[in-house]
Subunit: 230 residues, 2 copies
């Protein structure tokens, strides 16, 4: 699942801006509101997958608004993370009479925020990886961790599986070795670009037995492409 929308409801410009920045960086699609009223409109027009809500808001307080939201059946499943200043309210928040799914005390690190968002989204089932990815007669089953062609199962190593996963979710497009390294191995790993060649080779060898080694195509001077079309 991609394009997870997060609504930030926060009256202080600086904090709101910072939050939006952080969220974008983390791959979310943030929208923002200054108060409950504005937020209400956004929710109506373009319901987000999660709300980051300031405890104190001008007009209707964040808590109050959250409570109302949770009562409406349409929105009751919408996860809410409360943002509070450190202080006396902390105890009350813990009481969770509000129905918030989590809370954070300012100031917090971007890292922690993103981590909590992920946790809440996962808990509420918003992050559902597709169970299966099909492409022609290729099936990559994430849950079962299996790669199947037709009715036969292929034996692939962890890295081969990840590579295949990336290819199948990004078909028909050329990727440089560096891009593949970043996407499949992760930005923080440092290995030779040429190593990619070897892994491509290994993938092809496996696919070869099924006459499908033509799926992994070399684009001379650029990199590799995975495609059902020649």
């Amino acid at each position: 699942m991609s394009s997870l929308k997060i609504l930030v409801v926060e009256d202080e410009d600086a904090i709101r801006g910072m939050l939006i920045m952080v969220l974008q960086q983390a791959g979310f699609f943030p929208t923002a509101a200054k108060d409950a009223e504005e937020a209400q409109n956004i929710i109506h027009d373009n319901p987000p997958d999660l709300i980051l809500l300031d405890w104190m808001l001008p007009g209707i307080s964040g808590v109050e608004w959250a409570r109302r939201l949770k009562k409406e059946p349409i929105y009751s499943d919408l996860p809410i993370i409360l943002l509070t200043a450190r202080g006396e309210e902390e105890d009350k928040v813990r009481g969770l009479e509000i129905g918030a799914d989590d809370y954070m005390t300012k100031p917090f690190s971007p890292k922690e925020l993103v981590a909590r968002i992920h946790a809440v989204l996962r808990r509420s089932g918003k992050i559902l990886g597709q169970a299966q990815i099909c492409l022609g007669d290729l099936i990559l089953d994430i849950d079962q961790h299996r790669l199947i062609i037709g009715d036969r199962q292929l034996e692939v190593s962890p890295t081969e599986f990840r590579l295949m996963h990336f290819f199948m979710t990004h078909p028909d497009k050329v990727y440089t070795r560096t891009q593949l390294l970043d996407q499949v191995w992760g930005r923080s790993v440092y290995i030779e670009e040429r190593t990619i060649d070897v892994h491509i080779r290994r993938l092809r060898k496996i696919l070869e037995e099924y006459g499908r080694d033509d799926l992994v195509q070399t684009v001379r001077g650029f990199g590799y492409r995975f495609s059902m079309v020649d």
Copy 2:
């Protein structure tokens, strides 16, 4: 089984009230106590099927009381879910051998609470599912704690049984060691991940005699999978 009784032990009125509300809504029959002493009486007069216990209590702390309870043979099977505030204690909960079956960090969503209660009840056998679970020629007899293959029946140890139970009710999907630990042993126990390997080994050894050790499959880099398919 209907009319599952749940005892809430929590000193803060607001939270206690909220919990009771949530539990009723979810179809349980909650009773409540403000402290360990009160709880002790209730347990004696009208033993519940599960206890929701606050970590911090006036007088005897929740943890201390839980520990004592677990030592009494009569109550040792009574599942306990600990409620803790987020903070330093969190780590301790996992580490310390309290004997709780699960724990939750406030604040939590009602949904999650109910889900965990169900999970714990199921694990501890309070919720009767099917009496038998069949998969191919495998039959797992819940009541008798027996595994039947074809026409022969064999005894398995408690842990092996639970592991087998989990596998047979969740076939074809890969689980990491951590997931298995959480699901089969419970979230609050702390044992080495590698211990899973040993239990897998033991399961396989049993199945081996019937030529069925291929049911438990290793998925390198991820974990294990139980499947009738290769």
